[in-house]
Symmetry: C2
Subunit: 232 residues, 2 copies
DNA sequence: CGTCACTTTGATGCTGATCAAAAATGGTGG
DNA sequence: CCACCATTTTTGATCAGCATCAAAGTGACG
């Protein structure tokens, strides 16, 4: 990969603590690559050849079964995906495709594993990242099992609004079809759910969502730290 | 904890590779404790004081929101739970209670974290265990989002049957009420689902389930490695 | 043998899926 | 810039899955 990109990557919390020489060796074998939107990156069942890190853009992780497909997670900068498969040298459990034009750092799995044994600071960072990913999936499972689709949507809007440093709305990062899949509902139902949220002061204009009564929306959504907090 | 229990614990894959002296130090601060059934062990939101390891018995992990409760996972020997919270020094995301009479090893969280920094082999084992837990939750999420309740039940029966080294049925480890919660359905619905499975050769006698046509059941369940395989 | 919790069965209603089609949107080439 | 096309989104009608409510049946245990 290009030397010009190195300082940027070095600052990622995953790499910032490790030994300089080890970092150089890790990057020697890695690729920082650009992808167009909607490119299939990996497929469930593939052997875990690379650890992926989203530097720019966005990635959708999804799973399939019996002809059905569901979105498991959106990954935005800066975060890893399929770390667990890499660490276990196992097959991917999820498939991944780019949501938009993206820059991804690809680190060979074998290199990650050997470096973990040699660089304790790197091992610590990996553990930190992996536990973060773990807790994100647990939150997602709770969101799905404990909430109705409207409640999931309302909480998603509040989370995303906060993530965008706003209190009065948000701009959807994905199309409504994909959002529906992420929220575990059909596009038709998502559309109707947005309709219902009008009663709670939510107006929709394409991808632009505005809240006029965040209090009412919050009362409906009932966000809690153990499902909705962005930090791990 | 008692010295008599040490050899047994030492053989757990989590501890088998670590340095002898370090293991002794870890155990010095730990407790191997017996609990009756239905004891609340931890509650979501509590600070992560201990890592728990199920040595004997069984534990239910569950989450709550807005007055609702759902079972996230059953944990049987030998496995850890709430490892991620311990590693991040964070609050538990899940609550836990014993399902039956159980023996649990409780290791102080701070001790786990400091030992990870000192013993590389132990750090490796922790990473191995954590990625295993991670993949289990991902599988659970896929199970929930991609399958109907009958499909989840059918697959649960097949998995559990295999786990019990049988091909013709199984003995439920929990009551049907708890199983229903684990499968994301109501007890009423679980009862009716068992009724439907009669058409696929499943007979139910209390906790004793028998398959007379495992082929038909498998065609209905369509188990796949990336959701149903027990290994990580 | 009575009590209590679990389980089953039945009736009914809500949530969300499916099917169908119209409307809106966005990208493309003339 | 506009017309055209493909895709996304919305709307409407209907249906299936699952929850809820109610009540009866079953079994474990003091």
């Amino acid at each position: 990969m290009r030397t010009a990109d190195l300082p940027e990557v070095r600052q990622l919390s995953l790499f910032s603590d490790m030994d300089e020489a080890n970092f150089a060796e890790l990057m020697q074998g890695s690729f920082l690559q650009r992808f167009p939107p909607q490119v299939d990156l990996i497929h469930e069942g593939d052997p875990a050849d690379f650890l992926y890190i989203v530097i720019e853009g966005g990635v959708e992780l999804f799973g399939t079964w019996n002809g059905r497909e569901t979105t498991l997670e959106f990954v935005y900068p800066v975060a890893t995906f399929i770390l667990a498969a890499v660490l276990r040298d196992a097959e991917y459990l999820m498939s991944a495709r780019t949501l938009e034009k993206s820059r991804l750092l690809m680190v060979p799995a074998e290199l990650i594993r050997s470096m973990m044994d040699r660089d304790p600071a790197f091992a610590r960072s990996i553990v930190h990242e992996l536990s973060c990913r773990y807790r994100a999936v647990v939150k997602s499972l709770k969101d799905n099992k404990l909430r109705s689709s409207i409640e999931r949507l309302a909480n998603f809007l509040l989370r995303e609004s906060r993530h965008q440093d706003r209190h009065d709305g948000l701009l959807l990062q994905v199309d409504k079809k994909t959002l529906a899949q992420r929220l575990g509902m059909t596009p038709e139902n998502l559309s109707r759910a947005f309709g219902t949220l009008q009663e709670y002061g939510v107006t929709v204009d394409g991808r632009d969502i505005t809240f006029s009564d965040i209090k009412a929306l919050t009362i409906l959504a009932k966000p809690v730290a153990h499902i909705d907090d962005p930090d791990c």
